[in-house]
């Protein structure tokens, strides 16, 4: 649901199946531009879904690129799927699941399901897990504990679910002014963590470049 809601607002997924069929055909004629158009159109939706179930940003990005490279490799063997979007989405889910099992080799996965659906994770977990630096993770975790349930809920609704403050007001029966102030207070705390975070990210990158 969330996906559909956000995709319309951010302008992603602007093409329909008819255009997709055209792009797919272009791709099968060895024109990679067709593939690229599909990629740009689906990327945000895929990323959004991926990050909600898998938690690791790097893994999600890798999975998305992987399926597009796979499809390019197999383009001459593949037919025209009935629904290209559905076909790609299922491929993407499978890829995520594969990467996930590979990364948790130690843990035993229930093998009585043919293809278990990855579960959507709570917002806080996602926030923490998207950070790559362990120090930032720790700080963020502590900071989130300091925030009230209400603060976290409003932040999630405003920025993750992309609801307007008025929409949140209708849903939660709080006044827009209260919602505004609650988020504002929370952001002051978030500032401390994120300001450090971007500094560390930059530092890590510089170190990486030097090597």
């Amino acid at each position: 649901m969330l996906n559909a809601q956000r995709s319309t607002e951010s302008g992603a997924g602007r093409y329909g199946e008819k255009e997709y069929a055209g792009f797919w055909y272009e791709m099968q004629q060895d024109n990679e531009q067709g593939l690229y158009k599909i990629y740009h159109d689906l990327y945000d939706n895929f990323y959004h879904y991926g990050i909600s179930v898998v938690l690791d940003k790097g893994m999600v990005k890798e999975a998305i690129n992987d399926i597009f490279v796979d499809i390019w490799r197999k383009r001459h063997q593949l037919g025209m799927p009935e629904s290209i979007q559905a076909y790609l989405f299922i491929s993407f889910k499978r890829k995520l699941y594969k990467l996930l099992t590979k990364s948790q080799k130690g843990t035993v996965l229930a093998d009585n399901q043919l293809f278990p659906e990855p579960e959507e994770q709570p917002y806080e977990t996602m926030l923490i897990r998207q950070e790559t630096d362990s120090l930032v993770k720790e700080k963020l975790e502590k900071m989130l504990e300091l925030l009230t349930t209400r603060q976290k809920e409003f932040i999630r609704m405003r920025f993750y679910e992309d609801l307007s403050i008025e929409e949140i007001a209708i849903k939660t029966a709080a006044t827009p002014r209260t919602i505004y102030n609650t988020i504002h207070n929370a952001l002051v705390r978030i500032r401390e963590v994120y300001t450090d975070a971007s500094f560390i990210a930059l530092l890590l990158l510089l170190i990486d470049l030097e090597n």
Binding site: H48, N65, V69, R73, F159
Partner: protein, 336 residues
């Protein structure tokens, strides 16, 4: 609340600002671009707000996405060669250079500001590749441009409506998406190159007396003053920048492919070769001077490295330093 008093917390709670960051409403984009141009001292907090917005929304930033797309392209370009397990890690490292978050964020604010309407009333989006690194630009129709260092691409607001006209200063490679009824034309001064479904490169730096059109695949039509020529793949056309003097020849495909892949190789290179290569690669005029009794040979491989990094290596190994004087980069013995 007065916009002048805004901190990041206030920016992010402003709905219009959020729509600007997500580029979901043109009027908001226009408003904030103008506003931030007028009040540059507010950019720091605005950049922060934008970063928080992407993090809290668990969204991928446009810069990250562009980097991912670069990796995909690189992978696709080798995907047709015999199957070998492809390593993303390698590409991650290469792409990291393009990802300096602050640089990227700053670029986002500066590079997208529309240029002042110079000739016509039409507004342009200006894409600028920095002084030492190239960048990729994906256009609205899916065409891809690799903009070489030191180059500027002007994209009119009406691009891809009926026509696809671009203006280039410097050098760029164009991979043109097919659209039969919308001609794709790049101009630089009085020189015009029209693509007929294709990948081509146009070089016309302001300091070069000549301009060059290099055709990688497909077909192009080149027009300047009254002269017109068509190129076949593998052909290069050289002409005067001010006036048409068409000369066709074959170009060095190996060198061209190396440029495309971003891999710069020096093999036992002499000072002249170093200068010529750097000039070709980064679009700056380079002169290398050495002491008479100290011959130089340089070896090295650079993957998507900036001019500064390459220069640092060349200078360090040979005891040289680099100085910029009058549009020319002089690489010379360290003065005492």
């Amino acid at each position: 609340m007065d916009l002048q008093q805004y901190k990041a917390e206030d920016f992010i709670l402003n709905d219009s600002f959020v729509r600007y960051c997500l580029r979901s409403n043109d009027a908001d984009v226009q408003f904030w671009e103008d506003w931030l141009e007028r009040y540059p001292h507010k950019q720091e907090e605005a950049i922060k707000a934008r970063e928080w917005l992407f993090r809290l929304g668990l969204r991928i930033t446009p810069e990250e996405k562009e980097a991912e797309f670069g990796k995909l392209k690189a992978a696709i370009s080798v995907a047709d060669t015999p199957v070998k397990k492809f390593s993303w890690r390698k590409i991650v490292r290469i792409a990291a250079a393009a990802l300096l978050p602050l640089a990227a964020a700053t670029w986002w604010f500066t590079a997208r500001q529309p240029a002042a309407p110079a000739v016509a009333t039409e507004s342009y989006t200006l894409f600028k590749a920095g002084d030492s690194l190239r960048r990729q630009v994906m256009l609205a129709d899916g065409s891809l441009v690799i903009l070489n260092a030191h180059s500027t691409l002007k994209v009119p607001a009406s691009y891809n409506q009926q026509k696809r006209n671009l203006v280039l200063e410097g050098e760029a490679l164009f991979e043109v998406a097919k659209a039969d009824n919308k001609p794709f034309v790049v101009s630089s001064g009085n020189l015009q190159v029209q693509a007929l479904g294709t990948a081509f490169k146009l070089r016309a730096y302001y300091y070069d007396k000549q301009a060059a059109v290099t055709l990688v695949e497909g077909r192009v039509r080149v027009a300047q003053e009254t002269a017109v020529a068509e190129l076949q793949p593998g052909e290069q056309l050289i002409t005067g920048k001010a006036h048409a003097r068409f000369v066709k020849n074959k170009f060095d495909e190996e060198r061209e492919n190396a440029w495309r892949s971003g891999r710069l190789v020096f093999h036992n290179a002499s000072p002249d070769e170093i200068a010529a290569t750097l000039t070709y690669w980064y679009g700056v005029n380079v002169k290398v001077i050495t002491r008479k009794n100290k011959p130089i040979r340089f070896n090295g491989v650079f993957n998507n490295k900036s001019l500064h990094e390459v220069l640092a290596a060349v200078c360090f190994v040979n005891g040289l330093e680099s100085v910029t004087k009058n549009d020319t980069l002089w690489v010379q013995p360290i003065s005492k």
